[in-house]
Symmetry: none
Subunit: 214 residues, 2 copies
DNA sequence: TTGCTCCTCACGTCACGTGAGGTGGC
DNA sequence: TTGCTCCTCACGTCACGTGAGGTGGC
C-alpha cells in the first residue's frame, strides 16, 4: 500500500481533517455516518484519504467532496451493489438510459401510448429515458389492456403537484436557512412526510378496494 | 410449531397460492421479492402462511394483504431495524384490535386528532380499531408535528374514491359474471391495477420531490 | 417415470458495528 | 502523565442469497 505523506501546514493551504472532524462536519447532512462506515468506504476504495506518518487518516477538501458525492449516491439509491463498477470512468452511467423506440419496445407499449403519457404529464419527454420512465410506461401499457388510458390518470399529476405544495409548506420553517446542513435536513424531512402521506393514501385505497369483494 | 392443515377446496372459497404463485403476482409491485425473502419474513414471523400436509406453504388472500403491507412498510423505511421489537405490541403485530383510547395513546395522537381524522374520512369510526387505523393515525400525528392537519388531506379520500371508480370500470367485463371464480379473478385484477396505479403515482411524486433540492 | 416446484439446513455475503488491544498528540 | 482520538484486526450481525440434498404433485 502506498502511503502519501501529509503536506506541511502552509498558511493559506486548505486544512486536512481527521476522521472525527469529518464526522462532525457531515453528520448533520448524513446522520448515519460513522467512523466504521468511513473506514469501510476506504476499504472499498470509494475514498482514498491521505495518511500521516503514524497512520492517521487525513481528509482534504476534495476528499470531502468525493465523500459527499458517494454518500448522496448511496442515500438516493443510485449506488449499484457491486463496487467494481466504480472502476469504470463515469460513475453517473450507473442508471440505464435508452432512446424513445427502445423505451417503447421494452415497456411493451406503442408510440401512441408514449405520446398520450407525455401529453397527460405522466412521463416527461426526453432524448434519453431512464428506468423510472420505463417502469411507468410498462405500467401504463398493462393498464391500457384493462381499458385504463393515460388521460384517465391526468388527475394523478395534479394530485402530485398539490402534494408537493403541501410538503413545501411544511418545510418552510426548515427551508428558510440556505446552508448545506439545513437543506439536507429539509430534503430528509420531505421524504419522511411523503412516506407518511403514502401510508395514509394506501390505507384509503386498500379500504376502498376491500368494499369491492368482501 | 403448529401446522394448520389446508382447508379443502370448496366452491366459492378463495384460492390458496403457492410461494411461486405469490411471487408471480407480486414481482411487478415489489421487484426484489424472492422465495428466500418470503421464507425469511416467515422466520421473522412477519407472515404466517398455512402449510399443506407435506409442508408446502399456502398463502391466503389475507396473507397476501399482510405481505403487501409489510413490504410497503419496508420499502418506505418504516420497518424498524431490530426484529426484537416485533415481540412487543407494535404496528405490525397481526390481528390486533384496540379501543379508541388505546388507539389514541399508541399513535401518540389526541382525541381531537382522531375526531378530525374521522370527520375528514381518513379513519373510519369503530368500536375496536385495527392495525391499519393505528398506522394511519400514527402518521397523522407525525404529520401534525409538521403542520399538516387531517383537513389538508380531505382530497385523499376523494382521490381514493375516484380511483376505485376507475378500477371498477376496468372490472366490468370480468365482474359481470357472479360465480366465485370470476369474483376471485376480479379481486385479483383489482389489486393488480391498484398496484400499477401506485407505481405511476409514486413516480410522479418522486419526480415532484426531486425538484425541491437539486 | 419425468420434470417441475417446493422443502430444510448449512453456509456465504454484503455493509457495516463492536470491542480488544495498542499507539499518537496536545 | 493524563485523557482523548485514532489505529488495526478479529469477530459479530442483519437481511437475505446460494447451493446441497431430498421430497411432493400433475
Amino acid at each position: 500500500v502506498l502511503r502519501e505523506s501529509v503536506q506541511a501546514r502552509v498558511p493559506g493551504a486548505a486544512p486536512l481533517l481527521s476522521i472525527g472532524q469529518v464526522l462532525a462536519r457531515l453528520t448533520a447532512e448524513f446522520p448515519d455516518l460513522t467512523p466504521s462506515k468511513l473506514r469501510f468506504l476506504e476499504e472499498r476504495q470509494l475514498i482514498s484519504p491521505a495518511r500521516t506518518e503514524s497512520g492517521y487518516r487525513k481528509f482534504s477538501p476534495s476528499d470531502l467532496d468525493r465523500l459527499r458525492f458517494v454518500l448522496t449516491m448511496q442515500r438516493d439509491h443510485y449506488l449499484p451493489p457491486g463496487g467494481s463498477t466504480f472502476a469504470s470512468p463515469s460513475i453517473l452511467s450507473a442508471e440505464r438510459r435508452m432512446p424513445r423506440d427502445e423505451l417503447i419496445r421494452e415497456a411493451g407499449a406503442t408510440p401512441q401510448l408514449l405520446n398520450d403519457a407525455v401529453s397527460s404529464s405522466l412521463v416527461a419527454p426526453a432524448d434519453l429515458y431512464g428506468e423510472e420512465a420505463l417502469a411507468v410506461l410498462t405500467c401504463l401499457a398493462e393498464l391500457q389492456r384493462s381499458g385504463i388510458e393515460p388521460r384517465h390518470l391526468r388527475g394523478f399529476r395534479a394530485a402530485a403537484e398539490r402534494e408537493l405544495g403541501l410538503i413545501e409548506s411544511a418545510l418552510i420553517p426548515v427551508a428558510r436557512r440556505k446552508d448545506a446542513s439545513s437543506r439536507a435536513k429539509a430534503g430528509e424531512l420531505a421524504r419522511e412526510i411523503a412516506g407518511q402521506l403514502e401510508i395514509v393514501r394506501s390505507s384509503l385505497i386498500r379500504s376502498a378496494l376491500s368494499r369491492l369483494d368482501p
